[in-house]
Structures are given as structure tokens and as C-alpha cells.
């Protein structure tokens, strides 16, 4: 177990380092940072001075090490546009985005698990087909379009729900649906597949033969075993949520990390862009690592392989 843990940690750290190289390339190589920092009226001499002052004239590997040092000390640079420290701008907005992502994943799970179990319990029937069709549809609906349609129906025509912003829980309902719908199908398919496998296993067949009620089998053994892979996928989907929130936050004017990202993209504010790419990737790496560990801990085969 310890060896497995260590191995996973090393891989995660290596991936994180690689990602930091890529974000460094985005912000220091793909564009000229000195030109970006300089005010509108700067002359070539001014830019050269800035290059020296900020150390943009040092060799790239040296700059990269400096960049890495800054990241470790949580200095993510300053926005070209607002002049504010990027770390603060992001920290301020993380809670909103995290809340939206958690709501969306819970919404997706709340739909996916019951539907998946239902489909697996009645395989190859109309119920199964209907569930699969829902999954196919959910996958095909672009979340930004879903957002517009939800705004049109529930915000403007029926006026049941607030449309934009994040000032109350009610404000999260429409964006949660728009974002969660897209994560649902994959989770549902996996639940269904897992349940089908478990239900077909000898273990469950034996219990059924022993006369246990089907519902009891389903919930006591089936679900707990089938959900193992769903946990990993939930972590993966959670990472996608952070990416998908860019579109949803800009449609619903939710002032979170995704909205900040969209703003920075349209103004080419590189320090903010690279910081967000880096942080979301790190969050994703940590999440998948956590999912792996939970899986390992719950799966006796890996746990015992000490």
C-alpha cells in the first residue's frame, strides 16, 4: 500500500511539474512578457529597461526556476490589466466556482446513480433504452445552449428563478442544471455497467439463490461495489466542471474563476490565464490522486498488496 501511495505521489508531482513548464511557455515564451507589462506609450528603450528590471532577459531555464519559486511561495504574478496580484484575484473567486462545481456534480450524481441502477436492474427493456437515450441526449446538449434556454424559460418567461449572479442559493439552480447535465451521462453509463457486472457475478447469484430479496442485493452488495469506479470518474468530471464553468459563468454572470478566465482570455491577460490553467490542472491532479487512493483503500486487492 505504501509503495503504491509513493508511486502515485511521484507521478502526480512529475505531472504537476510538466504542467508548470507548459504554463511557463504560455506566459513567457508564446508572448513577450516585457511588451505586455509595458504601458501603452512605452518606447523600445522602455521595454528594454522593463526586460532587465523584471529579469526577462535571463536565460529561459533560469527564468523558469524563478517562476517555480514564485509559485511555491504562492506569488502568481500581477494582472496586466488591473495591476492586482493574481493569487488574490483567484482566491477571492474560488469559493463561488467550487460551490457551483460541487452543486453540479451532486446534481449529476443524483440523476446518474438512480438512472444507472434502474437501467441495470431492467437490462434491455424499454426502461433501459429510455435511460440510455437520456444519456445520449445529455451528452449532446451543449451546456451554453442549455443555459440560454433555461434563462429563456425559467428566468424570463416563467420568472421562477433568478437569472444571473451568485448572491443566493437560488442563483445556483439554473447554472447547476446546465453544467450538471453534461456530466451526468458518463456517470450514468458507468453506474449501469458496474451494476450489470456486479449483478452478473457469482457472488450475487449465490445470494439470490439463497432467497435474498432483489432490492436488498441491489443496495447492499451491488451498489457499493459498482460505485467504486464511479468515484474515480466523479473526480475526473469534477475537473471538467472547472473547465466547463468558463462558459456557464460567463452566460450566468457568476463572478467566479471561470468568468475571470473568460475575461482574461478576451483581453490576453497572460498572468491570470497561466495561473488559472496551472491551478485547475493542479486541482485535477490532486483530485485524481485522491480518487486513486480512495479506490485503493476500498479495493482489498490493492490494499493487501503491501
Amino acid at each position: 500500500m505504501l509503495r503504491f501511495l509513493l508511486q502515485r505521489l511521484i507521478v502526480a508531482a512529475a505531472v504537476a511539474l510538466t504542467v508548470s513548464v507548459i504554463t511557463f511557455v504560455l506566459s513567457h515564451v508564446a508572448i513577450d512578457p516585457a511588451v505586455a507589462v509595458a504601458p501603452d506609450s512605452a518606447t523600445d528603450a522602455d521595454i528594454a529597461a522593463i526586460r532587465a528590471q523584471y529579469g526577462f532577459d535571463r536565460p529561459l531555464p533560469v527564468q523558469y526556476l524563478g517562476y517555480l519559486g514564485d509559485i511555491v511561495t504562492l506569488d502568481l504574478g500581477t494582472s496586466y490589466l488591473t495591476g492586482e496580484p493574481v493569487a488574490g484575484m483567484i482566491a477571492e473567486r474560488v469559493p463561488t466556482t467550487a460551490l457551483l462545481a460541487v452543486f453540479s456534480i451532486l446534481f449529476a450524481l443524483a440523476l446518474a446513480i438512480p438512472l444507472g441502477v434502474l437501467a441495470a436492474s431492467f437490462p434491455n427493456t424499454m426502461i433501459d433504452r429510455l435511460c440510455l437515450l437520456l444519456a445520449v441526449a445529455g451528452q449532446a446538449i451543449p451546456n451554453f445552449w442549455a443555459g440560454l434556454i433555461l434563462i429563456l424559460i425559467f428566468g424570463v418567461n416563467l420568472q421562477w428563478l433568478p437569472i444571473s449572479g451568485s448572491s443566493s442559493l437560488a442563483h445556483f439552480v439554473l447554472p447547476t442544471i446546465a453544467l450538471g447535465t453534461f456530466a451526468m451521462p458518463a456517470l450514468m453509463r458507468l453506474t449501469r455497467a458496474g451494476m450489470l457486472d456486479v449483478l452478473a457475478s457469482d457472488f450475487v447469484r449465490t445470494h439470490r439463490a439463497m432467497g435474498l430479496a432483489p432490492a436488498a442485493i441491489l443496495f447492499r452488495w451491488g451498489l457499493s461495489n459498482a460505485l467504486l469506479p464511479v468515484i474515480s470518474l466523479t473526480a475526473v468530471q469534477f475537473g471538467f466542471m472547472l473547465g466547463g464553468s468558463i462558459i456557464i459563468e460567463s452566460v450566468f454572470a457568476i463572478h467566479g474563476v471561470g468568468y475571470l478566465a473568460w475575461q482574461s482570455f478576451s483581453r490576453a491577460d497572460m498572468p491570470v490565464i497561466q495561473a488559472i490553467v496551472l491551478l485547475v490542472s493542479l486541482a485535477y491532479i490532486v483530485l485524481t490522486l485522491a480518487a486513486d487512493l480512495i479506490n485503493a483503500w476500498m479495493d482489498p486487492r490493492i490494499r493487501s498488496a503491501a
Binding site: 507521478v11 512529475a14 505531472v15 504537476a16 510538466t18 504542467v19 507548459i22 504560455l26 508564446a30 508572448i31 440510455l132 445520449v136 441526449a137 451528452q139 449532446a140 446538449i141 451543449p142 451554453f144 445552449w145 440560454l148 434556454i149 429563456l152 424570463v156 475537473g239 471538467f240 472547472l242 473547465g243 466547463g244 468558463i246 462558459i247 460567463s250 478566465a261 473568460w262 482570455f265 478576451s266 490576453a268 490565464i273 497561466q274 488559472i276 490553467v277 485547475v280 490542472s281 485535477y284 491532479i285 485524481t288
Partner: protein, 290 residues
Amino acid sequence: MSVPAAQVRRPARWRAALTHKSLVIGGGVVLLIAIAAILAPVLTPFDPAQPDIANRLKSPFWMADTVPGHYLGTDQLGRDYLTRLLYGARISLVIGLVAVAISATIGITLGLVAGYFGGKVDAVIGFVITTRLSMPLVLIALAVVAIAGGSLTTVTLVIGLLIWDQFAVVTRTATQQARSADYVRAAEAMGCSLPHILAREILPNIMPAVIVVATVELANAILLEAALSFLGLGVQAPLPSWGLMLSEGKNFMFFDPWLITLPGLCLVTLTMAINLMGDGLRDALRSGRR
């Protein structure tokens, strides 16, 4: 993507596939959309980029205030909406297919090499795949497009260079299995060259799995392009990308809702049909193998 040789030799499998409803329905719809996209210049007399601002925001045929000839009305610049939707299908399909071709080439190559050689090569490629997976797709695509500027070519390239991961994963696993198969051993024993073994012996056998991945990624690529264009960072005006049409039409959605419902429905229909086709293919290929 051409039909792989392995399947042509076994027509029975394809006949079996036709009994799968989702494959027939999904494939049929995709085919229909593809034909409509190809025949767009024949099907409509209008130019998708030609404004007629005296005839703007006219309604589709089922509503009042229509103009003869414009069956689905006109947009905010008086461009024929049906024409734009038809040409939009071209953009979706071309970007989707080219991006998938690029990503399949990258992914399959990486997967074949990793699966065949194993060991350190496999570890390195595995690491590359993990790294790619840890970087959120939309975010990276947007970052690159923000630097390089949005256009049809950049969007296609960016998407193609990003969505190869599933191809690599699937090919790697399948190659690992195929490597120990008798026919590969036999080819090795006969002294066949490596490219020959990979291309002739392993590739055809992993094709079914790859085709299924290709359908999923095709749908993904189309949705990703629409998302980038919707955010204004993808395909640029006056090209009629469905995502861009949604972005242009959304200001008018309260009083002229068809401007967003129609391109949205087109997107949903196409991606849903592709996904259905993929599901059907998966089932068909699985039962065919039995």
C-alpha cells in the same frame, strides 16, 4: 476514415450491425446531414455571408412576417437562416473530421508504440497521456486560441492536437493484448519488419475499438468548436458556425427565439446522432466478435 480491410472481409458483421436500431437511426441522420452539407450550394440559392439588411429578422415559415424564399427566416443582418444552417453543418463536420483525423493519427501512433514496446517507452507515453489528461480541454484550447487568434485553421488544429488521449489509451490497451496473440508472434517469427507488423497485423484488429472512440471524439470536437465560437474565440464571422450563430443570435432570443433554438437543435441532432451511431457500433462490434 476509410473502411478497414479487416471488416470488408467479414461482411456478415456489417449485416449484423444493421440490425442495431441506434446504429441505423444515428448513422442515417449523420448521413442525411452530411449530404445536406455537401449539397448546400445546390439546395439553396443564397450566399451564407451575404447580408440583406432591408430584410432582417424575418420569421420562419410557420410564423407571421415571413419573406417568400426564406423558409427559416433571416438573421440580424438579413442572411438566409436555412442557408447559414446548411453551411454551418459543413463547418461542424469539416472541423470535426479533420480534428479527429489529426488526433487519431497522434493517438494511434502513441498507443501502438507504447503498447508494442512496453517498458520504458510505455512509461514515458503513459506519462504524456496523464499530463494531457490533467490539463482541462476547454481551458487549454481557449488559452492557445487567445494567443494565436481564432480562425477556422487554428481552431481545427488546436482541437486536433488536444483530443488524442482516448485514441492513445484504447490503442495502447488493445495493442498490449494483440502483441501476445499468435498471429503477431508468427509474424515476428517470420521476420516481418516492425512497421509491417504494426500496420498489417495489429492495426486492423484494434480498428473496431478505434472507430468507436472516433465517433465519441467527433461529437466532442464538434461541441468544442461550437463552445469556442460561442465565446467569440473560435471560428470568426462571417463564417456560419453554429456556435457563432448562437452567440450572434442570443441578443435577439427574447423576441425572435428561433435564432437560437434552430442552431442549437442542429447541434444537438448532429452530436446525438453521432453518439447513437457510436453506441450502435460498439454494440454491433461487440456482438460481432462473439
